[in-house]
Subunit: 193 residues, 2 copies
Amino acid sequence: MTIEEIVNKINETYSPLTLECQQELLSHSTLLSLKKGESLVREGQYSDKTYYIIKGAARAYYLKDGKDISDWFAFENEFISSIISFFTDKPSPHYLELLEDALLIELSRASIEKLSDKYHDFERLIRVIVTKTMLSQQERIASIQFYNAEQKYQNILAIRPDITQRVPLTDIASYLGISLETLSRIRNPKNRI
Amino acid sequence: MTIEEIVNKINETYSPLTLECQQELLSHSTLLSLKKGESLVREGQYSDKTYYIIKGAARAYYLKDGKDISDWFAFENEFISSIISFFTDKPSPHYLELLEDALLIELSRASIEKLSDKYHDFERLIRVIVTKTMLSQQERIASIQFYNAEQKYQNILAIRPDITQRVPLTDIASYLGISLETLSRIRNPKNRI
DNA sequence: CGCCGAGTTGAACTGAATCAAGAAACGTGG
DNA sequence: CCACGTTTCTTGATTCAGTTCAACTCGGCG
């Protein structure tokens, strides 16, 4: 995959950028190649970076009273960051780690601010990305409020059919707000009536 | 409250606009004065409007299998819309109604798009509003995942101490994803150990 | 081959829902 | 301004979905 193909992908998925803006975006981008299990952010750190996933998968999670609780998964052509830290400049409550070997683009808040100031179309790109994120969260909240454990699982499968191949069940369970045991029972067809 | 004061409030809470942009924003704005209980959007409607609350309070809710489930509250100096319909151009799953007599500014999607195209600073305003909304949802999801019924209630009280004066307990309960009875017991100090 | 983390299965427990009934507050018209 | 009906909230008893604890299985990897 060439750099051009990557930028095109962002253009068509989110919002188009002028060639000039694309150039400058690339000049601010850092390419990262990291292995499964490596971490991008730890709790308590100030993280002013956002990551675009070219290839691979990543996970944001909390450690709440020693319990690992997944908060977000991201895959190819998606963005991930420690959103609290990135947007509010506070220490991150999240850890960020890679679920698979990955190829990432790293962008700093300073770069994003600079590009947003200079290019209206970059400001729009950010607006579109944030809007999509907000709509995903909206869906997630609705899923939590309306559905029982099994329905929540079916829901995430509908949105991301490959999730069970790419994310450990433990992480899916904590993301759904159910215990690993319950998820295991849901998945076992013998437990059907 | 004059129109200038209202626009100033938006400028300082969200993101500043040039005078020219402010003027044009006002020319696209419709002022609405509505009574408690009136509805802005019903389920199934295509709603391409966003409302800014000058005075009063509003609520977005679902009717899921006949049950009324609150999804969002908005008060002075906040925005509310049927976000699914507004951003994805689908029929609204939400109802929107007023919890108090209210004074609102109504903006159409067409106006917002036009202003966003024309003015970089308006695009930024929208980006900032959406980002704030996203961060509230993030907090809400964390609150749902981490806390029990009582803690969720304490949480919303911390964020909005006046909510019990302005929103019926039924609506607060469904927003928190707990039953009205549980909320009532939580609020009764006799039930403390 | 044996260990270790991930997932499964079973049994007991529990926080909150549901069902049911009554009390308080609210507002509307006489 | 009061009476009455409606809505909102409270209280009690029972039930249940899902948790927790514990033991076990399986598959991959050093």
